[in-house]
């Protein structure tokens, strides 16, 4: 019987009613849900609503596809809704229930092809996901909108495979650097992981100047074929951001907000007892008489206060004593400088409002966003805020003519006190000499600065500088972009678009220095020599970008099987930059800030540049029945950065795909194996993003020297740096092979890409000339490198029944990797640290130690001469003894040395690791049940070596500088001693991690770190209030949510005091701390 129905009424609903057999006013509905093939469908969510009582009933189908509703009143009619993940929603209306007879419903659901119909934004157009032949990923803005972060780039971390995000620091508003698929080029001895081209609505832009709420989608073009249409700048991938458009229909207003609190991800539990801190540092510097200048008597005083958490009136932390014949303050404190300088929690908030609407002719979208976040400074907190406003409208003026405008305004401000740059600069400078023994303030409220017992500046004088709030600055950014576009459709399937955009960016900033005062002798106030200048500096860039595009596309199907699409276009860009800086000294007021108030020296600096790009591009798509797909892209591109004869380049690409699952032979397995496509692409792109704007023109650049003549820093000109007259494009050739597969009715999706990207004709030193040449030889297009990698993503989406209610969930896993080898370079000396042919980029050379000498005798008789790595010990007559590192004489010459530091003679060094981030992965889980939504997102890194830099204070402590302010609380247990022979560090000695030719400064296997980490990047829980509750307030939707960012981190890095991402962005791991953030908010639509 069922078979019959299926045959005749596929994709439709059939109802059976039978005559009433009973008198009850209620009945029972039973039914069955099947798929198109007639197989039972479990866990289909069924919602039934009565037309009179408005009552809603819910149920789920069981494993046999059956469902049942009992006691359904006969009054009124019923509407049904059937939904299941991966299937098209079905609904039935006007169903009548009769009592006493079986009321049954039979329905079949069709596979939802929309997943495959998903449209992906590609260069100058869109493409159905199924028809993609290149490597493209896309996410929607909704996926990131709940996350409490002040910038979009950091939210994109781990969202797409091989979209590599490196966040420089936790500074509010800090932009992260973007990279697609790894190393792109070299610059001297360092590898460059170049940034992709970022286009916002088709115009070059900056991601972090957007708010997530206005984003419709972010599409990442990774391989040459997808990016070829952007020729010149698409070589290292393209990120296309599309903002939301107005929709015809009901006008909607949406407001959402969130309030969050951030705190550092790392431990801030430092030594805060003056006695212990001073003992440790004096011991590290014992060989030259210690650090503090404290006498034994002073130490007794410190010891007496060691257990005081707060000041005991009988044991003041600040005393007045006669030293060197004069009364001065002497400090015996237990100050927690971290708490004195920094807040534990930094509040942030985000408000967004958007308005959309329109009719069939005109529509509009307006989105406004306001964000603010407090910085970390306790005294005179630094504050970041940003505002964006986007207004879009589009008008279908005639059936063939459409006009649209898209205007965006962005503004941000970072206001701070202290060192220029604010929080992050203060953070770095407070890292020295802020001993817990030293007070930040004297009892009379004056700041401290030096102790008089040694001549170091307490905390680099930052506190003295902050205390009166006069030294301060503000960085502001303004950007206004407007895009006007005309679309003409003169004939069917032909669209011609022309747009012109203008963007204006300016970033006025000021920094006001005022003399910082302190007191060492009671009652005597002095100006700190370090911060003694009274000066206002103002700086402003004024940048303009003009972009014009003209392109047309045409699509047609022949004989129902041949599908053709063609695109042809023209693009030109002009970038103009100008900068002005002005400084004036000795202002009439410490509070007011205007250059006119200055009476002292005045200085003015300028700077400007411009460059232009032009290109003609095309794309041709052909497919046969959607089975065999072919795409040709190309661009003829020109840039003003190269000399006339080498200015133009043609960059073609080709890609093809075969949808195997469309073949007839695939039919038998389609039940399990829903989709399979293989893709391949090849293309060659140019990179014009080489050093400077006029790399081929010899220029004499003005500058200012660190030499005083005529009462000012002398101005000078340099002789022109040699240039090569025939510079041209770097050529990037990339190969991509990909597979997309889907299983179990698209519940499981797997996508895999592997690629090779060759960067050829890289600018590099072409000639190695003797030093008598007197300059760096000009760079020429000579070097090559090869980056290889892969991307894997696995998605699972399903729905089950939990407590009788549908439980929708999804899980995704992504993994990506890349590594780079230098394949060609002119370098005959092959120094280990240089770019030499065959080098694996990121390799770390180092010495090998097998641990400590166990006895003094062993140290004395060790036959290998280690003086090369024992500089401080030698210089200070400190003999090698038990607890010092023993080095392995790899080259067997009886002494440890760097040899010639070349690959053929590296002395006792070898490759011990690699600093390339490898195996970046992420996984997320999301679920939705009973109006509750939940998502969790983990992100991690498989391997990356890091050798802590010489100023990695949290890592080395006094082994580097014997006066780092913040020494981890438990640091002492890592110091070797007679009773602590298994310690991590050798005998305590200052500077051995700071200066070259010392045991810890020399890169070695023992202290090499692995930055592998796994982070709970985000956890969000939301609850959408039931509609029945909201209807009476005319509210369409109201959701409340709580979200946490960076909640938990597991890492192989040895210390808890450095975040692995801090170490990734800075060799010393000493950047403004990253935050973990807790937030909550609401999202309401009217």
């Amino acid at each position: 019987m069922l078979q019959l129905f299926r045959k005749s009424f596929l994709l439709s609903l059939l109802l059976f009613s039978f005559a009433a057999m009973a008198q009850q006013s209620s009945g029972t509905i039973t039914g069955v849900v099947t798929d198109e093939e007639g197989g039972p469908m479990p866990f289909v969510s069924i919602t039934v609503k009565n037309s009179i009582s408005k009552k809603v009933y819910q149920a789920l189908s069981d494993t046999a596809g059956h469902f049942k509703f009992s006691n359904m009143p006969t009054e009124g009619t019923y509407s049904f809704e059937f939904s299941s993940t991966g299937y098209v929603k079905r609904s039935i209306t006007g169903y009548v229930v009769k009592s006493g007879v079986p009321n049954s419903v039979v329905v079949s659901l069709a596979i939802d092809q929309s997943d495959l119909d998903e449209v992906v934004v590609v260069g100058y157009g869109t493409q159905k996901k199924v028809n993609l032949t290149g490597a493209v990923n896309q996410i929607s803005g909704n996926e990131i909108r709940d996350r409490p972060a002040t910038n979009i780039t950091s939210m994109l971390q781990g969202v797409m495979p091989n979209l590599n995000i490196r966040v420089a620091s936790g500074t509010p508003g800090q932009m992260a650097s973007l990279n697609i698929r790894g190393v792109t080029s070299i610059d001297g001895n360092s590898a460059v992981s170049g940034a992709p081209l970022v286009l916002i609505d088709g115009i070059p832009g900056t991601l972090d100047r957007l708010s997530p709420e206005e984003i419709q989608s972010i599409s990442v073009l990774k391989d040459a074929s997808s990016a070829a249409i952007y020729g010149a700048r698409g070589a290292f991938g393209v990120i296309l951001v599309t903002t939301k458009n107005g929709k015809s229909g009901k006008m909607s207003l949406r407001y959402n907000n969130s309030f969050g609190f951030s705190t550092p991800t790392v431990s801030t539990d430092f030594i805060t007892t003056g006695y212990d801190w001073m003992k440790l540092n004096d011991a590290a510097l014992a060989h030259i008489g210690g650090y503090s200048g404290y006498t034994e008597q002073d130490y007794q005083e410190l010891l007496a206060r060691r257990n005081d958490k707060t000041e005991d009136p009988s044991r003041p932390w600040v005393t007045i004593q006669n030293r060197n014949g004069r009364d001065q303050y002497v400090y015996y404190g237990n100050y927690d400088w971290w708490d004195i300088m920094f807040t534990k929690w930094q509040p942030m908030q985000n408000h967004n409002i958007s308005l959309m609407g329109g009719n069939d002719k005109i529509n509009f979208m307006i989105n406004g966003n306001l964000k603010s976040k407090d910085g970390i400074m306790r005294l005179h907190t630094d504050k970041y805020s940003s505002k964006t406003l986007r207004a879009k409208f589009s008008a279908q003026m005639t059936p063939w003519l459409k006009f649209s405008n898209n205007t965006n305004f962005y503004n941000s401000s970072y206001k701070y006190y202290g060192r220029e740059g604010g929080g992050s600069a203060n953070f770095i400078h407070i890292n020295v000499h802020a001993s817990p023994a030293y007070a930040p303030m004297n009892p009379d409220g004056t700041a401290t600065y030096i102790t008089g017992l040694n001549n170091y500046d307490i905390g680099d004088g930052i506190f003295a500088m902050l205390i009166d709030g006069h030294t301060r600055g503000q960085d502001r950014k303004y950007e206004l972009t407007t895009i006007n576009e005309v679309t003409i459709s003169p004939v069917k399937n032909l669209n011609i678009r022309g747009n012109y955009s203008y963007s204006l960016y300016t970033d006025p900033s000021y920094y006001r220095q005022a003399p910082a005062k302190y007191s060492l002798y009671p009652g005597v106030i002095d100006i700190t020599p370090k911060y003694s200048i009274d000066q206002l500096s103002e700086e402003q860039q004024f940048n303009q970008v003009h972009v014009a595009n003209l392109y047309m596309d045409y699509a047609k199907t022949f004989n129902k099987v041949h599908n053709i699409k063609a695109l042809l276009g023209y693009n030109q860009e002009l970038h103009l930059a100008k900068k002005i800086t002005a400084q004036r000294m000795d202002l009439a007021s410490e509070d007011l800030n205007d250059l006119n108030l200055g009476s002292g020296e005045q200085k003015v600096f300028g700077g400007s540049s411009e460059y232009a790009l032009m290109g003609l591009f095309y794309r041709l798509n052909y497919d046969y029945k959607g089975k065999y797909l072919l795409e040709l892209n190309g661009r003829y591109d020109g840039t003003s950065k190269f000399p006339k004869d080498n200015r133009w380049g043609f960059f073609p690409s080709v890609s093809a795909a075969w949808r195997i699952s469309e073949e007839d032979f695939f039919n038998p397995i389609r039940n399990v194996f829903s989709d399979l496509k293989i893709r391949g692409s090849y293309g060659s792109l140019g990179n014009q993003n080489v050093s400077g704007y006029y790399p081929y023109i010899p220029t004499m650049n003005p500058g200012t020297m660190a030499y005083m003549l005529d009462g000012e820093r002398a101005k000078y000109y340099n002789s022109p740096a040699p240039v090569s007259g025939d510079l041209t494009w770097e050529t990037i050739t990339s190969y991509n092979l990909g597979v997309d597969a889907a299983f179990l009715n698209n519940r499981l999706g797997i996508s895999f890409d592997t690629y090779i990207r060759n960067t050829e004709d890289m600018l590099s030193q072409g000639l190695v000339l003797p030093n008598v040449y007197g300059s760096t030889p000009p760079e020429i297009n000579i070097a090559s490198l090869r980056t290889q990698g892969f991307e894997l993503s696995i998605n699972w989406r399903d729905m089950i029944s939990v407590a009788g209610k549908p439980f929708q969930y999804h899980a995704a896993f992504i993994l990506s990797d890349n590594h780079t080898k230098i394949t060609k370079v002119q370098n005959t000396t092959r120094l280990t640290y240089s770019m030499y042919e065959g080098k694996e980029v990121g390799e770390i050379w180092g010495y090998i130690t097998d641990g400590f000498f166990q006895t003094d005798a062993e140290a004395k008789t060790y036959p290998v001469d280690q003086t090369w790595l024992n500089r401080v010990r030698n210089d200070n007559n400190i003999p090698i003894r038990a607890g010092d590192l023993r080095w392995i004489d790899l080259d067997g010459d009886g002494k440890i040395s760097a040899g010639e530091n070349t690959v053929s003679d590296p002395g006792d060094q070898k490759v011990i690791g690699n600093s390339t981030p490898r195996y970046q992965y992420a996984f997320n889980l999301g679920a939705n049940w009973n109006n509750i939504d939940f998502s969790v997102f983990f992100q991690g890194l498989g391997k990356m070596n890091w050798y802590p830099g010489n100023n990695a204070d949290r890592f080395w402590g006094p082994y580097s500088r014997p006066y780092f302010s913040f020494i981890p609380k438990d640091f002492e247990k890592d110091i070797y001693s007679e009773t602590n022979k298994n310690a991590y560090f050798p005998n305590l000695l200052a500077y051995v991690a700071l200066n070259a030719n010392n045991e810890l400064r020399a890169t070695n296997n023992r202290y090499l770190q692995n930055l592998a980490y796994l982070r709970l990047k985000n956890l969000t829980i939301g609850y959408t209030l039931p509609k029945s509750l909201l209807d009476r307030y005319k509210i369409q939707r109201l959701r409340i949510f709580a979200s946490g960012e960076n909640l938990w981190t597991w890492t192989k890095l040895r210390t808890d005091y450095i975040d692995p991402e801090q170490a990734m962005s800075n060799n010393d791991g000493r950047v403004y701390p990253f935050s973990k953030t807790f937030s909550f908010g609401l999202d309401v639509s009217f």
Binding site: L550, Y707, V772
Partner: protein
């Protein structure tokens, strides 16, 4: 349909106008904030601004006061001092960037054809001054070096692969350059700009260096030592007779002691009597140096005067300290009494107070290896912090010229008492020291100095040694001259002597300046608990429980007479240019 067709033209019009706007010029973009060589050097301002760059080739702060030889002892010993220099892969000493900049200007068509001859010659003179300065350094370090007066192009095989030119040829070019500079530079006095007088002072320094080098380094068989010494005499004489400069002897400075005040004032203007050229620093411009931190901090190498230098200071009656019986076992307080006043104006001696302070302070072993703590150049404590010193520093001064004059004449054997009276005497008068008596000196050469300077053998040996004494004392901590002196006199062996500090007769407590509080504790065995004074183990003393402090004692110092007078050339360049030879015995 026809309507539609009509509107097909609209995009074509737009496209056309867009393309039209992208005329050929659109892609032609030239620098907007820098100039190109053909348009430069067309005004005096261009010349002046361009040549400003050359001033940065003068030494910076530590290059002026931070000398490392046998005058100042530090916690670590430079490789050239310990005799452990390695052949480097690359070396900034072997850098040629400044020369390219200088030659670029000298070869510029616009400079060569510059209309105003006087202006042209002035700036060419300035550039040639710096070329002489550049090559003087190169010759000092490397001996023979390739000489270039052109800007080398990448394909200029001949110049790139050139062998080293003989030292004599390079020196002739240096002299030609400096003579041109003397002839054409301004003679208006300036403490911060290079003038004719600066050029003369440089010439005096160069010719003394080269003259004595050729005289003493007989292993190189170089000619014309006397000719060069005569050039030194004539250049010095010109300066001395010009009357433009004199020995600074005002007592109006911060300490009232002219010698000390010459170095410790914030700016050079009050001491412009003597200063021929200096380098300015400024708090307002954030141009600061590290001198006071270097001298007072415990982490900057703890510089201290070496004992033999301290011994070299005469008694204030002009007799020799080292002639006194038991001079080598005197304690600090005693040994610094009645000495050449320059001693107490150069190191901390009892009663020392900082400028602007009244507290008497003792030598601080926390900051000095030997106990003889320098005070030369020191200003008020405000500038003691890391990188916070702002006093101007001296690059050339008249005092050096006087010393050069006397020494060149002495080495020539033409020195007379009258020469001494117009040179050394002026320096002695400033500090109220009796004059140097040439006859007495020659009659009775100081055995202490004879013992040090092994290569002096002339019949006026006595006065040569006294001039060397005078030079060492007068010029300590200035422009690293001591290193240069040892090299040109061929007395490198002096670096290998164990460096010594103060003398202590027993373990126990010492009040160095007799102010009633102990400053040092010498202990034996285990370090006792500190009671305040700086603690020194007796094992650091030369005699076990007594003697002089021996610094850097585990550093074995050697000086290889065959090779250590010159620096090794870097490997990279030897590999790149097979015609380039390494210096002798550097293998």
């Amino acid at each position: 349909m026809s309507m539609k067709k009509k509107h097909i033209f609209l995009p074509i019009i737009i496209a056309g106008s867009l393309l039209a706007s992208c005329s050929k010029d659109f892609m032609e973009r030239y620098p907007t904030a820098s100039v190109s060589p053909p348009t430069f050097f067309r005004s005096e301002t261009d010349l002046k601004t361009y040549t400003n760059l050359f001033y940065s080739y003068f030494p910076g702060d530590a290059g002026i006061y931070g000398e490392a030889a046998d005058n100042i002892v530090k916690s670590s010993v430079a490789r050239e001092v310990s005799g452990t220099r390695l052949i480097p892969t690359t070396d900034s000493k072997w850098g040629w960037g400044p020369l390219r900049n200088i030659n670029f200007m000298l070869n510029s068509e616009n400079v060569i054809n510059y209309k105003d001859v006087e202006v042209r010659n002035h700036y060419i003179g300035l550039a040639r001054f710096f070329r002489a300065y550049f090559y003087f350094e190169k010759v000092r370090w490397y001996g023979d070096v390739p000489f270039y007066n052109v800007v080398i192009e990448t394909n200029d095989e001949a110049n790139l692969m050139k062998p080293r030119d003989p030292r004599t040829l390079v020196m002739d070019s240096i002299l030609a350059d400096i003579n041109f500079a003397i002839d054409h530079l301004d003679d208006t006095k300036s403490v911060e700009r290079v003038t004719k007088w600066t050029a003369l002072a440089l010439k005096s320094r160069i010719c003394l260096y080269e003259g004595t080098w050729r005289k003493y380094h007989t292993e190189f068989s170089l000619p014309d030592a006397d000719k060069l010494l005569n050039e030194c005499v004539s250049a010095s004489q010109l300066l001395m007779e010009s009357g433009v400069y004199k020995v600074y002897d005002k007592t109006t400075g911060p300490t009232g002691k002219p010698y000390q005040d010459l170095f410790c004032q914030l700016t050079l203007d009050p001491v412009a009597d003597e200063v021929i050229l200096g380098r300015r620093y400024s708090n307002d411009l954030s141009l600061k140096h590290n001198l006071q931190f270097y001298i007072t901090a415990r982490t900057q190498g703890k510089p201290g005067f070496e004992k033999r230098l301290v011994n070299s200071y005469l008694m204030d009656d002009g007799t020799r300290f080292t002639d006194q019986p038991g001079y080598d076992t005197l304690q600090f307080f005693e040994e610094v009494q009645h000495r050449d006043p320059r001693l107490s104006q150069t190191i901390r001696t009892p009663g020392y107070t900082r400028i602007g302070q009244t507290e008497i302070i003792s030598p601080d072993f926390e900051a000095t290896m030997t106990g003889y703590q320098p005070i030369k150049w020191m200003n008020i404590p405000t500038y003691d912090g890391n990188g916070q010193s702002v006093q101007d520093l001296v690059l050339f001064r008249f005092g050096e010229v006087l010393l050069n004059y006397a020494e060149a004449k002495a080495e020539l054997g033409t020195l007379t008492q009258a020469d001494i009276d117009k040179s050394i005497k002026l320096l002695r008068d400033r500090v109220n020291m009796p004059n140097l008596d040439m006859a007495a000196a020659n009659a009775n050469p100081d055995p202490y100095l004879v013992n040090q300077y092994k290569n002096v053998s002339a019949n006026n040996k006595g006065v040569i040694l006294e001039i060397r004494r005078e030079r060492r004392i007068e010029m300590v901590m200035e422009s690293n001259l001591r290193w240069e002196d040892l090299m040109r006199w061929k007395e490198g062996h002096l670096l290998t002597d164990a460096f010594q500090g103060m003398y202590f007769p027993d373990p126990g407590f010492y009040d160095l300046d007799h102010n009633g509080s102990n400053d040092v504790e010498i202990y034996t065995g285990e370090k006792p608990p500190s009671t305040g004074p700086y603690q020194i183990p007796a094992s650091d003393l030369s005699g076990g429980t007594k003697g002089n402090i021996i610094t850097n004692k585990n550093i074995a110092k050697t000086f290889d007479e065959t090779k250590d007078y010159l620096w090794p050339l870097p490997i990279e360049d030897l590999n790149l240019n097979p015609n380039l030879d390494q210096n002798p015995y550097w293998k």
